[in-house]
Amino acid sequence: VSEPAVAAPRDALDHAALARAFVRIGLLGFGGVAASARRVLVEERAWYDDEAYTELLGLAQTLPGANTVNLAVLIGDRAQGLSGALTAMGALIAPPIALLILILTLYDHVQGLAAVRAALAGMASTGAGLVFGTGLRMAWSLRRRAAGLGFGLAAALLVVVGHAPIAWVALGVGAASMAYAAWALQRRLGS
């Protein structure tokens, strides 16, 4: 099912290209969609480079709603307006929902699906690793920004070790990081 990595100008993305990309992101998104989204949008399709993708994800995560749904809205809207946003969003969620309903229906009607359950659990564990590895690759793209790495690490530690609510971390650390970025931009312009 893999497709060649063609760098298309992302403003010219049509509805079919959006739909194909987001169907793929949704169905490959075991244990969370963060890994498959970067894989498809940055590595396979090259619609975004690491920097632009991470900036867009930052926006998607700071707003209420699921990150990748917000990401689909932002990318779809930029490409094709409201209908593009709806296309990307629908393509992202409809196939996984259909699959999930199918699995749950089988659960209710077929005995001995322990193997399917075990397989899904194994895929979720593996998927968690894909997400973590994706985070490490994204951190690598920040390697020239010491302050950025610091804010990223602070956000991760607050959630993982401090068990702080994600909303507060996104808004609190996000505001601090933004203030620092504004100060750095000001200083660069001033010199």
Binding site: S2, G26, L27, F30, G32, V33, A34, A35, E43, L57, G58, L59, Q61, P64, G65, A66, N67, V69, D77, M89, L92, I93, P96, I97, L104, A118, A119, L120, A121, G122, M123, A124, S125, T126, G129, L130, V131, F132, G133, T134, G135, L136, R137, M138, R145, G152, A155, V159, V160, A167, V169, A170, G174, A175, M178, A179, Y180, A181, A184, Q186
Partner: protein
């Protein structure tokens, strides 16, 4: 299914939509409070079963809300829950996304994008750890997580291969462990 149930579903999930920073994990406790304790639409065991299957299946975790709707009121419930959990947050995202495009040259939006990018990286790392903690009961499962992380860092091949390998291995072990 009565009209009151649909209204309650819509009201509950619209609020959750605006509270769901970072996705379904954030609203899981509130979702459980609503559908199990307050509305009595399902038992705690049913909720946990649905939640576990939804988390293991591919796709955005927010679809757990769609499945709750399906459980409560069939296909109509599924459609309503999906629309209501997505619409409010997506509308905000659409409007604010357009504002950032329109004002992308201003220092505020440049600082916004530069500042939020590192937070995005930190939260992706954190969510990897959070999913692993929830999904990994034993050492073997942590091994699969490590294999997934190494695959992304070094293999650069389609992640489906390592996912299928992890799934087949776990299923095979479960089958032999039983027999």
């Amino acid at each position: 299914v009565s009209r009151a149930v649909f209204l309650a579903l819509a009201a509950d999930f619209a609020v959750l939509s605006l509270a769901a920073f970072g996705g379904a994990a954030t609203i899981a406790p509130a979702l459980r409070d609503g559908v199990v304790l307050r509305r009595h639409w399902m038992s705690d065991a049913e909720f946990l079963e649905l939640y576990a299957v939804a988390r293991a299946a591919p796709g955005p975790n927010i679809m757990i809300a769609s499945v709750m709707g399906w459980k409560v009121a069939g296909l109509a419930g599924l459609a309503l829950a999906t629309a209501v959990i997505l619409a409010p947050s997506s509308a905000i995202c659409l409007v604010l996304g357009r504002l950032t495009v329109r004002h992308e040259r201003t220092r505020f939006v440049r600082a916004l994008k530069l500042g939020l990018a590192p937070v995005a990286v930190g939260l992706v790392l954190a969510s990897g750890i959070a999913i692993a903690r929830a999904a990994n009961p034993g050492l073997l499962d942590w091994g699969l997580t490590a294999a997934g992380a190494l695959w992304v860092l070094f293999a650069r091949r389609n992640p489906l291969w390592i996912l299928v390998a992890g799934g087949v291995l776990t299923a095979a072990l479960a089958a032999t462990g039983r027999g």
